[in-house]
Symmetry: C2
Subunit: 317 residues, 2 copies
């Protein structure tokens, strides 16, 4: 009887980035009516109803023939969309915020403050034991351009504006954010770049945005500008960035994401004096809010209601 | 008649840090009833009523026998108090905020964010081309201790608390600041240091605070803590700081002020990998608000009313 009861419960397969088992445990606690498993036996693959996790190995989804929904444990789902083993009819869910917006605001603010307060220049002076004050710039005179105004980008733009920076935001569809001048479209992007001392890229990786930040676009930034990239590495032309840093057109870059991760040891980015590198840690998925989102969405699905943060496959996010 | 009219006006002598003449010009515009001069002829020294400026050369005040008030163009007046040529009966005025609090908040926030987001560790990893994520710390779990809660320190503590950090403040007299746990007294200082991941020193330089941040006190900070000094260099024992950085007890320091400025080229601070040096730029006096404060205070004095920000010589600030 107990076994029959268990067998009747829907099955959620968890594939977490860390092997601690804490994601499986937290999801099992949050979803008492769901059977949470860490790995399907080959025979049971066809009984898996739901998946939650980061991008699993190639072919992982092929045997999961009864899959009813995939919950990505992140905001960026580009890797899921490129998988041939994941059928397009299976709903794909991204995380809305899950504690990431607050972290991303910190990461962006670090980049903006470092630019505003001449951190790279003072660091270079320090290496020469040079004592020289540089002209101050106020927050209001520091112009920040935020690309991407989704759940995370909107919070970042609003937070930077609340702190007193002059913030412009660009996104595919027009948004409205308190204190932020929001624009949309290709021409508006050019105009925004031309008045961005710090460019913060938080766009989703889609066919439209891959390679977007190329030499022509980065060259529109004002002389001495800084680039912060914290969404996906495939959007930024690294060769163009290095050329613009070396020519002095750009003053610095703060990079968290790269086309290949971990960033290969031979990459010139590691050793560039104007580049600050962090290992894809700008915004880490936090367990509690992520589990709460998956629980709520799964409950909606089981109750026949519509879910939140369903990925639009045509749009790519 | 014109000359008689001019001679009747009180005389304000300006000694600015920069030679641009902009301070003299701005004060002359703000104070049409005052004669603003840049240098007294020897004969006229006895006619100078007021002084406004940064710390002038030794002996500068000796011939100014009729001086009725000295307006310091900064918040820290320790150098003025140590001068034998400035009579103790002449009122000494400091600036209240004058745009410095906003800048100081940025400088402190840069230090706190750098600590919270592992900037020194990631920078060290970058130099080794090492890709390794470190455990995240939330703002609420980042404990900041602010020493000094005057016009500037209070704003810094409040701003850090508003942004979500756990902030404690210590000062000579007890203060009350929204969101900040304010304490006073020697024992409370010890307790505050023991729970400060980042220590932000904004105390005025007085006989009580000089040398305050010695080995014993800095050693009370939790392992891995960071020290931000942005008030005066004479409060921090640099040898103790270096020892605690080298032993690994402290993780980093962000220093804007030094016992000798410019910081001598032979100082080991310049080359220390865990020390971030800025050349006394954390909070620069802004012309407009400073001139407005001096204008208002001078008007009060001329009208026989009490002035703001009069320095208490016994207290030292």
């Amino acid at each position: 009887m107990g076994n029959e009861g268990r067998a009747a419960r829907p099955v959620l397969l968890v594939h977490a980035a860390d092997a601690s088992g804490r994601w499986q445990e937290a999801l099992a606690t949050a979803l008492p009516d769901v059977e949470v498993i860490a790995a399907p036996s080959e025979a049971a693959a066809g009984t898996v109803d739901f998946f939650a996790g980061w991008n699993p190995p190639a072919g992982f989804f092929a045997p999961l023939s009864a899959l009813r929904a995939v919950f990505a444990l992140g905001a960026g789902v580009d890797a899921f969309l490129r998988r041939p083993d994941l059928a397009a009819h299976v709903p794909l869910l991204k995380l809305g915020d899950a504690g990431m917006a607050a972290q991303m605001l910190e990461y962006a603010l670090l980049g903006v403050l470092a630019w505003q307060r001449h951190l790279p220049a003072y660091s270079a002076q320090q290496s020469r034991a040079e004592w020289r004050a540089l002209p101050p710039t106020s927050r209001a005179d520091t112009r920040v351009g935020v690309l991407g105004l989704g759940a995370i980008g909107a919070e970042v733009a609003a937070g930077l504006a609340r702190f007193g920076y002059t913030v412009g935001g660009w996104s595919r569809s027009v948004h409205s954010i308190d204190g932020v001048r929001c624009v949309s479209g290709a021409e508006a992007l050019h105009a925004l770049l031309e008045r961005s001392d710090v460019l913060v890229n938080l766009l989703p990786s889609t066919p439209r945005t891959r390679g977007l930040l190329d030499h022509a676009l980065l060259g529109r930034l004002p002389r001495g500008a800084c680039v912060v990239n914290a969404s996906r590495g495939d959007q930024l032309d690294v060769d163009a960035l290095l050329e613009l840093l070396d020519s002095g057109h750009l003053s610095s870059a703060q990079l968290d994401v790269f086309a290949t991760e971990p960033l290969p040891r031979h990459s010139p980015l590691w050793r560039h004096p104007k580049v600050r590198i962090t290992p894809h840690v700008a915004a880490i998925t936090l367990l509690e809010p992520a589990v709460a989102q998956i629980r709520d969405n799964l409950q909606c699905l089981l109750d026949g209601q519509s879910m939140s943060n369903v990925v639009d496959r045509a749009r790519g996010y």
